[in-house]
């Protein structure tokens, strides 16, 4: 069949109109599901059909172009197919160009990775379109490296943009990389800075992966940027996007050498195992003789005293203090032994510790690792918690004052927060005599891993607690009734809580909570949430609640999503811990304002976790009201 393209104008444009109209009415799926495979087959080898297809899409009126192009990009099974179907549409048609290069990449972020691959691949397949590819990459990098975008756009969008960048990078050829090497480098440096500044670990990882990939591309020889982070599915997927063609991994030489040596050593060992056996069986007589005349003469002495050498740790607290503050490299073995024994010593000698508690707390706060002990950070933290528990009020006073003092590192400040939380938890969850934690508590125990990002755990615990509260039936207690102990946190909750909340808005020269140190602010907010939660049934809880509500109100528009999540957990803890009557009696206006704020967050906050937490809080508030209405006054 030979058509003259010119002669077919009218027919094709009619079809284009129909196609466009159908697509704009939302029937993309039906029509394109049939059309695309059909066209795919037809255009496979026949270039006249290709031209027809191109004409078809070119003639779609502009107002319907977006729907059509979107449909095609989503449905084409590969970049080459898309190339065959659309041809140079993006170059010829302004609207199509806008959709492909701007809208789908920068304004929308719901498309799958496959769609991204199609799109970028399509741009890279033709020399006319490659200029567009470079422009797309530049714009993506601009977005990626802009600090406001990193702070305010949802993590899902940032993931999408990162994927797009990686796919673009994988399509770039050497000369193109050469030409834009400088720009790549500048954007990488800026972008990595913004990403590492973020409080969310996912964003930090994204930044690291993309920066590593860019560095890999622009420095083909020489040292490459390498970050340390935990690999997970997301990072692996991102890294896989960077390679377009599969390559065979060359086994590294040192591995070979090592395996050879291991093999060489191995055959020796089985041989030697055999030899003594054969020797024993072949020559038993000779051996017996030899045994009789020489070895029996040598009578061993008493060997029972030969025991493992144990360095004795000091037994008195004051000795421990001496060792820990002692000069330099005197006796590192003793120092190590002291660190290991400190926690148990503190717990066993509360009276002695109370005399020197603040001094000990000071020493521990400033203690640095002298030798390489396993678990130094944990040992130190446990010792600090033990000291805080033994003498809560003075030590809490000391620690909270140090939190806001000059010249501490961020790590030390966050350490203070962790220690306060762990101690509060231990004080409020009564321990059995001799056991450390009860496993089947009625309250879900807060699992605090020192140093880890504990925001997830609060959420989980609060979720469970909410679930417990929203159900109405009583659960039969099949567990053994735990002996009840007084909540020791009661008397000291205020000492832990109020000093922390006091000075947050006063910046110091080295520490500005409201400024750059928003990571510490986030941790502080989460800490306050936990302290609030643990203060349930204490006397100070209402006062704490009011102070916390004011605190949250002041910070509610903070730009960092980690801080906002913390603030929302604060509200949850508040609603769970403060008795309902007190909440409604003392904090009515604030509650109403909070409710409207929460409603705002649910609708408009870019961060998914924030929205979820706000929704939970609204539910809690509802429950609270219902509960009070249900009780006859």
């Amino acid at each position: 069949v030979c058509f003259i393209p010119g002669g077919l104008d009218c027919c094709i444009s009619f079809v284009s109109h129909v196609l466009g109209k159908v697509c704009i009415h939302g029937r993309q799926n039906e029509i394109l599901d049939i059309l695309v495979p059909c066209l795919m087959d037809l255009t496979k080898s026949d270039c006249i059909w290709q031209r027809i297809c191109w004409r078809l899409v070119e003639c779609v009126p502009d107002r319907w172009m977006e729907a059509v192009v979107l449909g095609f990009v989503q449905r084409a099974p590969g970049a080459d197919v898309l190339s065959r179907l659309l041809g140079n549409l993006v170059v010829k048609n302004k609207k199509a160009q806008f959709v492909v290069t701007q809208k789908m990449l920068l304004l929308q972020y719901g498309h799958t990775t496959a769609v991204l691959q199609n799109l970028v691949g399509y741009l890279s397949l033709d020399s006319l379109r490659r200029t567009l590819l470079l422009r797309v990459l530049q714009e993506l990098l601009e977005t990626w490296s802009s600090s406001s975008a990193v702070k305010h756009s949802p993590p899902e969008q940032q993931l999408y943009i990162s994927k797009a960048i990686l796919i673009c990078l994988s399509h770039l050829k050497e000369p193109e990389i050469e030409s834009c090497r400088q720009e790549l480098l500048t954007s990488m440096m800026e972008g990595v800075k913004c990403h590492l500044d973020s409080s969310l670990p996912q964003l930090r990882r994204l930044g690291m992966v993309v920066a590593e990939s860019i560095s890999l591309k622009i420095n083909t020889e020489g040292p490459v940027l390498k970050f340390e982070y935990e690999e997970d599915n997301e990072t692996r997927e991102l890294k896989s996007l960077l390679v377009q063609t599969p390559f065979c991994v060359v086994p590294s030489l040192p591995d070979d050498d090592r395996s050879e040596k291991a093999e060489a050593a191995l055959p020796l060992v089985p041989d030697s195992n055999e030899k003594p056996h054969t020797a024993a069986t072949v020559m038993p007589d000779e051996e017996l003789d030899a045994e009789l005349d020489s070895d029996d003469d040598l009578i061993p002495y008493d060997l029972s005293e030969d025991k493992e050498l144990k360095i004795k740790a000091p037994v008195y607290i004051r000795d421990c203090i001496e060792v820990l503050t002692g000069s330099g490299s005197e006796d590192l073995d003793k120092w190590e032994a002291t660190i290991k024994a400190l926690e148990s010593l503190v717990r066993k000698n509360p009276a002695a510790v109370r005399e020197v508690s603040v001094e000990l707390a000071k020493i521990l706060l400033h203690l640095e690792e002298k030798t390489c002990i396993e678990g130094f950070v944990e040992l130190r933290q446990r010792a600090q918690v033990a000291v805080l528990i033994t003498d809560p009020i003075p030590v809490a006073k000391y620690l909270t004052s140090q939190f806001y003092s000059l010249n501490y590192s961020l790590c030390q400040r966050m350490d203070i927060l962790d220690v306060l939380v762990l101690a509060a938890q231990e004080l409020s969850c009564p321990k059995f005599h001799g056991k450390t934690r009860h496993s089947d508590g009625q309250k879900p125990c807060v699992q605090l891993l020192p140093g880890s990002d504990s925001s997830k755990d609060w959420r989980r615990i609060v979720d469970e607690r909410i679930k417990n509260k929203t159900r109405r039936f009583a659960v039969a207690q099949s567990h053994v009734e735990l002996a009840s102990h007084p909540n020791e946190f009661n008397s000291v909750a205020g000492h832990f809580f109020f000093p922390l909340i006091q000075h947050f808005d006063r910046p110091l020269t080295t520490f500005d909570l409201l400024g750059e140190d928003h990571l510490v602010l986030g941790r502080l907010v989460h800490t306050l949430a936990v302290l609030m939660y643990l203060a349930v049934n204490t006397v100070a809880v209402t006062a704490m609640g009011k102070a916390l509500l004011e605190f949250v109100w002041a910070l509610r528009f903070h730009t960092d999503s980690y801080v906002r999540q913390g603030l929302l957990s604060c509200i949850s803890s508040l609603l769970l811990s403060v008795p309902a009557e007190r909440v409604l009696a003392d904090m009515t206006e604030e509650l109403l304002e909070t409710q409207s704020w929460l409603g705002d967050v649910v609708e408009k906050d870019p961060d998914g976790d924030c929205r979820r937490l706000a929704l939970q809080n609204l539910l809690l508030m509802e429950n609270l009201k219902k509960k009070l209405e249900a009780v006859p006054s």
């Binding site: 050498d257 040596k261 050593a265 020796l268 060992v269 041989d271 030697s272 030899k275 003594p276 030899a290 045994e291 020489s294 070895d295 003469d297 040598l298 009578i299 061993p300 002495y301 008493d302 060997l303 005293e305 030969d306 025991k307 493992e308 050498l309």
Partner: protein, 328 residues
């Protein structure tokens, strides 16, 4: 009922510094005085009179740098000492003299003790760690000519040589060198050809000391971990692991087998000296006297077996001398 371990026969005090090396010279006929040479961290070599238990002479030849190896060369009149001043000194001690006759500048900054082997009358071979990290040099003494340099192959990553032992099966046989390295392996070198005959990974940590029994073709090595490794040499000159023995505390500084090959002694970082039977490595005694790391142990070469002694030098600046299993 096992007896409690014996006490030292006597203790030599007076070095005023940690003792790093000991060597007996008691084989001479009467009226020769039995002597014990000790090298200390303050650079002095003390010559102890074992009859009076006092220092006869103190030799100062290493510029106050620690002496970590002393050995006599055919009789007590010629002494070889190695110190941290990177020198090996040859002393002439005959007739009351105390002069350094010759010295070799090794340029070795480690702690590897040299090893001497008498190959002919008046001729010795000495193996020492050289300047370059993994190399061992063999020199002929007293001419100080280099016989060969034993260099491991590129990429072998053995690390520094930690301890050496030169030996030959009998006079006239080829001398071979056993070297323990930092990576925990023991290598058997053919000295004349300068080639590796066999290599065996005995330890995960550096080999601190080794000793070899050429009659049984079996050797023992100790390292900074808790394991003693006993290995044997078969007819094809291949090293094989024979046995391992686990210790209670980690760290061995020195191992020596008694000349009659019946017992061996180990010097431990846990301040204890351990005696084992050499045949089957049966633990025989744990001598717990010192209050610091025991750096060296040495058996005496008394011709009368009843008089045999064991000496141990420690960081606590004392030398304990024991008479143990002397009756067998």
């Amino acid at each position: 009922m096992a007896l409690p371990p014996p006490d030292p026969q006597f203790v030599l005090r007076g070095t005023s510094a940690a003792v790093h090396t000991l060597y007996f010279s008691c084989g001479g006929p009467e009226p020769d005085i039995p002597l014990l040479f000790s090298g200390s961290e303050n650079g002095l070599i003390h010559v102890w009179n074992l009859k009076t238990h006092r220092v006869d002479t103190a030799l100062d030849g290493h510029g106050r740098k620690s002496v970590y190896c002393v050995e006599t060369m055919s009789g007590k009149d010629r002494l070889l000492s190695q110190g941290r001043d990177q020198r090996i000194c040859l002393w002439d001690l005959a007739e009351g003299r105390t002069s350094v006759t010759d010295s070799v500048f090794t340029e070795h900054v480690g702690f590897c003790r040299c090893s001497l082997l008498k190959v002919a009358q008046g001729r010795w071979l000495m193996a020492m760690a050289a300047r370059s990290l993994e190399e061992v040099q063999i020199l002929e003494l007293p001419s100080k000519t280099s016989v060969c340099t034993l260099k491991p192959e590129v990429g072998a990553k053995l690390g520094m040589p930690m301890c050496l032992k030169l030996w030959q099966l009998n006079c006239g046989f080829q001398p071979v060198l056993l070297a323990g390295y930092e990576d925990g392996s023991v290598v058997l070198w053919n000295v004349s050809m300068g080639k590796v005959l066999s290599q065996l990974v005995c330890h995960q940590e550096p080999v601190m000391s080794l000793d070899f029994d050429s009659e049984k073709a079996r050797g023992i090595s100790g390292s900074s971990e808790k394991v003693l490794s006993i290995w044997s040499l078969n007819e094809q000159q291949n090293l094989q692991v024979y046995k391992t023995h686990k210790l209670v505390n980690a760290g061995i500084s020195d191992i020596t087998i008694r000349p009659d090959k019946k017992i061996l002694a180990t010097a431990g970082w846990d301040h204890r000296i351990r005696i084992f039977g050499w045949k089957k490595l049966k633990p025989l005694a744990v001598l717990d006297y010192h209050t610091g790391t025991v750096h060296c142990v040495s058996f005496s070469d008394h011709s009368n077996p009843q008089e045999r002694l064991l000496a141990a030098g420690s960081k606590d600046q004392r030398i304990s001398v024991w008479s143990i299993y002397a009756q067998t």
